[in-house]
Point group: C2
Chain length 304, copies 2
């Protein structure tokens, strides 16, 4: 079935998953005038969209039946599997020519599995995970990393552009997920570097704000130092990005790396420290809470 | 002895150490019109400054005898010790009221030792290590992190401003060195994050330039990704900053942290990987050569 361009007021867009990320992302699509149908495990969280004109459906299957393009933005790989392959899953409602876009961060192998299942039904699948956090989602400034059918990517590009500022096609099925994992590996490094550095400066008796003034302008500069170090100094560990989700992402990356016979000692260490952080009860804090696990190691109690 | 302001064409400035960093830094001082005396272990490397009007002296002691302010920018802590405390060292030529500024990255304890020895002679000492590499030195865009006598810092500020764009006083003797080590700890993290991420993307079969396009704009953004990842993609491992020097800096930071009872597992791992990199014969390459040690671990041979 040939692909046709998307058009506001005509194209029917399904959206599954209306959490911290999914809700504002779907709102942008709705604001552009597309005909949106939503589903979420907890219905209440989808109501702000229904109030703005989205139609509610009772299952992922029902969403698929009423849509031309379906987006999913849920939590964990198990959730993605359930939403696509479950008894009332999307694949039960797919028609030929439809485009399925999973924006959750999941294993590349799962993206490939969805792609294969969609293709067998004459449909197209993209993996399109994002970076930029809740702020990026609200401000439509996400980086969206896309893998899958290139033609289908070109068709949904206007929808992705409603949500992000950097939309890059990375290759076949799974390439978007691999790119997102690459992104997370860098962040694992910047996070431990920044957290260990702040603890060092604290123990050395330096004034942390004055230290940041010196080091932010040079080779140590990074997004984490600019955006999360000031929050750490304030003792604010509210999540931009949840520890629990980051542990999941690093676990996927390590598993993929192992499969590719690639040893990643740095990522492995950071992953373990985050597992400790979860064990200490901080799974629902932001990723910069890594400093709490490092403080715990050295029995440090900062004034907060 | 009271401190008096520095003035071009009047203040006598001594400079010891004219390597990749020291040469361009001293050139800026000379260009401002100060009366410069230089010494370097290998005389030839100082000749470009002599040609521009600097006077040559035969030892650090002789430099000190002819100067009001003396800067040192040498390689390793042993060199700093020799230059200050050796038989023809600076301290043999110091007069009351002089200001000594060590810009080498060394242990904070050594900075404190120099400060104490200077004070006993009625002189002032600052530790003022820099970040920004050879490019920052040439373009007078260094970040300079200063510890020691605050009044002496205010006196030499115009000289530091000739070499850097971010000049920040961090506290008493050793505080500049502690700040520099904080900076290096962040870099250890960004470096392993970026190198492991690029290897992951390579093994996953992604196009590395396209991946950089996606991840540079988000939470993974860092100076290392912006400046060194493109060099890695070209197989260019020329030093901006030498592996050998970085191993020294990390070793100092780990020793200081141990003394302060601070466990830094991330820094320790990166340090060990760089020791492996040295063992593999890459000590004179740039710090981004860390990727070569990681490739070696997984027996990867990239096309270069």
């Amino acid at each position: 079935m040939p692909l046709s361009p998307v058009q506001p007021h005509q194209t029917k867009v399904g959206w599954i998953g209306t959490g911290v990320m999914g809700l504002p992302m779907c709102r942008h699509i709705l604001a552009k005038g597309y005909l949106v149908t939503v589903f979420n495990r907890t219905k209440e969280k989808a109501l702000p969209l229904v109030e703005k004109g989205a139609r509610w459906a009772d299952s992922p299957m029902e969403v698929a039946k009423g849509s031309d393009v379906v987006f999913t933005m849920v939590g964990f790989p198990e959730d993605v599997r359930q939403v696509y392959f479950g008894p009332s899953g999307i694949l039960k409602g797919v028609r030929a020519g439809m485009i399925l876009v999973d924006m959750t961060t999941t294993p590349p192998s799962l993206a490939q599995e969805i792609h294969k299942a969609a293709a067998e039904l004459g449909a197209y699948a993209l993996d399109a995970p994002v970076s930029g956090g809740d702020v990026g989602a609200r401000e439509a400034r996400l980086s969206i990393m896309v893998g899958g059918d290139r033609d289908a990517f070109e068709v949904v590009r206007p929808l992705l552009e409603a949500m992000g500022k950097s939309i890059v096609y990375q290759g076949g099925p799974g390439a978007g997920q691999h790119t997102k994992l690459t992104n997370q590996i860098v962040i694992a490094g910047t996070m431990i570097g920044v957290c260990e550095a702040l603890l060092y400066a604290y123990k050395a008796g330096l004034d942390l704000a004055t230290v940041l003034e010196s080091i932010r302008g040079g080779a140590a500069q990074c997004w984490t130092l600019d955006n999360l170090a000031p929050r750490i100094l304030k003792g604010n560990f509210d999540p931009g990005f949840f520890v629990d989700h980051f542990v999941k992402d690093m676990g996927i990356a390590l598993e993929e790396a192992r499969r590719m016979k690639l040893s990643l000692p740095g990522l492995s260490l950071v992953h373990q420290l985050y597992v400790a952080l979860q064990a200490q009860g901080h799974g629902q804090k932001g990723t910069h809470a890594l400093i709490l696990a490092l403080e715990h190691l050295s029995a440090i109690r900062r004034d907060q």
